[in-house]
Amino acid sequence: MFIEVKNLVKKYKEKTVVDDVNISIDEGQFIALLGPNGAGKSTTINMITGLLSTTSGEIKIAGMKPNDKHFGHNIGVVFQQSTLDKELTVKENLKNRAAMYRNVQTIEDSLIEEFELKSILNQKYGSLSGGQKRRVDIARSLVHNPKALFLDEPSTGLDIQTRSVIWQTLDHFRKENGLTIILTTHYLEETENADFVYIIDHGKIIKADTVSNLKKNFARNILTLETKQKENVIELLNEYQDIKTDKNCLSIYVQEKEAVILVLNKVSDLIENFEYKKGTMDDIFVTLTGREIR
């Protein structure tokens, strides 16, 4: 295992913020920690990166423990807020941080190209837009060529286009360099590309699985039928318990496509139209925690 977290606990006085968290990650994987605000995601990440002491538990990244010398050399962290100096240019910021690592002399051109920083290199960091800043932040976290990258809610406050650009770049970077990525987020759609998702709530991992398994087991696919003869349709579909009605529509949960075809065949004369929607991560979250994401 490249990253191994065992029985991680963080207590503040009586309050347990992180409760027996276990995570194991292979090199090159993309892992998402999903959970509402205050679930303990950031606390978990801060302990794994060695910024926060643990109450108990064991952490290893590439065989090193957080207290080991040069532990930080293996990891890059993108913080929730920008840590770079707004008074300095992008180039000065990156060079300055690079100089704080041993054996890192220059900023690699590939990094500048990949994150499209060339045109803003000599601009003051403080004058950049939110999306540009985030690109620089990520480039900074990769300046020493780490093996694992931690992103703590990196796209909060960014528009959808910027988010997708960042994710495309990171995805590319991961495939090129074998970078391991650990993301915390409460944007469910960001987890769609992850190899593995840990769902955290109240400091506990309530589910850990691949996205496709989670979808298969917890996402509910919804078939919506548009009809003027609701009563007749309901009668025909008497084996379905949970039927929701709304104006001319009724919807039922149908997981398998065969079942959908069967239903449609049964009621085809009675309906005007239909829609079949696959379940999303949102549904998974609601199913698992019993509530919407906060």
Binding site: N46, L51, H70, T83, D85, E87, L88, N96
Partner: protein, 285 residues
């Protein structure tokens, strides 16, 4: 470490308002002197010859002592800013250890304090040269004093800032320090003119010794000249009242003043090392 030191120094000098406000305490003391303190003092010491040269050198000493205090405190408040912006966490994740990071802040504050003292010296030197035709004394030892003062206050500032690293608290502390430094260095009112309780407090701070050290050196020639024809105890009284020497059992000598500053440095270094774990928790979380 060089990278972090250079960054801190650059950020300080890049901010014109930071430079200005960190000098404010010193500038106020200098301007107050020019506007009315000098006239007052010249009148009250009118029995002394060459009084203008003596007092000009005296105020330069006090102002430099204030400069060392206020500029290092302003420089050290970078720690608060970097804690609030999580930059401190970012630094800890690099190959720099926490101790090296702290040392980098200390060195940059000391360097800033040193440079600003040199800057203030030059400004005052030029002013008095053209205004009063007085040449402010220069000896290479002044550089040593500037260095030791900067270092002493950098250590103290770092210790204090590490306890309360919030930018809001820091700007208030800097305001208080800026105003208080002039009193503790005995510039607004010379130590001999204060009630004995206030004098006692002043003797427990390094400010009065830093100022005394500067004044001993700067006023050396003009003192000898001024008191040439007066009895020996007149000079002693003047030195004591004006904070050129500090009266402990006897008047302090230059050597003792160096020693006292170094003891203050050692004291705060020890205190700092005792609290370093606590500081790590405060600054990184």
């Amino acid at each position: 470490m060089t990278a972090l030191i250079m960054r801190n120094i650059k950020l300080y000098f890049d901010s014109k308002s930071k430079v200005f406000f960190s000098l404010l305490g010193a500038l106020i003391s200098f301007i107050l002197y020019i506007i009315f303190l000098s006239k007052n003092m010249q009148d009250s010491w009118s029995n002394i010859s060459e009084v203008v040269e003596l007092l000009d050198n005296w105020i330069v000493g006090g102002t430099l002592a204030i400069t060392a205090i206020t500029t290092t405190f302003h420089a050290a408040s970078m720690i608060a800013r970097d804690r609030e912006s999580d930059s401190m966490k970012d630094f800890v994740l690099t190959d720099l250890s926490f101790i090296k990071i702290q040392l980098s802040y200390l060195i940059s504050s000391a360097v800033i304090g040193f440079i600003m003292q040199v800057f203030m010296y030059v400004i005052m030197y030029l002013y008095f040269k053209f205004q009063d035709s007085v040449v402010i004394r220069f000896t290479p030892e002044l550089i040593l004093i500037a260095f030791i003062s900067a270092f002493t206050w950098a250590v103290i500032a770092q210790f204090i800032v590490s306890w309360i690293p919030s930018t809001e608290a820091q700007s208030k502390i800097n305001g208080i320090i800026g105003a208080a430094a002039g009193f503790f260095a005995g510039v607004y009112l010379p130590i001999g003119f204060l009630p004995s309780f206030a004098q006692t407090i002043m003797k427990y701070t390094p400010a009065s010794y830093g100022a005394a050290l500067y004044r001993q050196l700067l006023t050396k020639d003009s003192l000898n000249q001024a008191f040439e024809k007066l009895p020996a105890h007149a000079m002693e009284t003047f030195k004591e009242n004006m904070g050129i020497s500090i009266k402990l059992n006897q008047l302090t000598t230059v050597k003792q003043e160096y020693l006292i500053l170094i003891l203050f440095v050692l004291l705060f270094v020890v205190l700092y090392s005792l609290c370093v774990r606590k500081f790590k928790k405060i600054l990184i979380g």
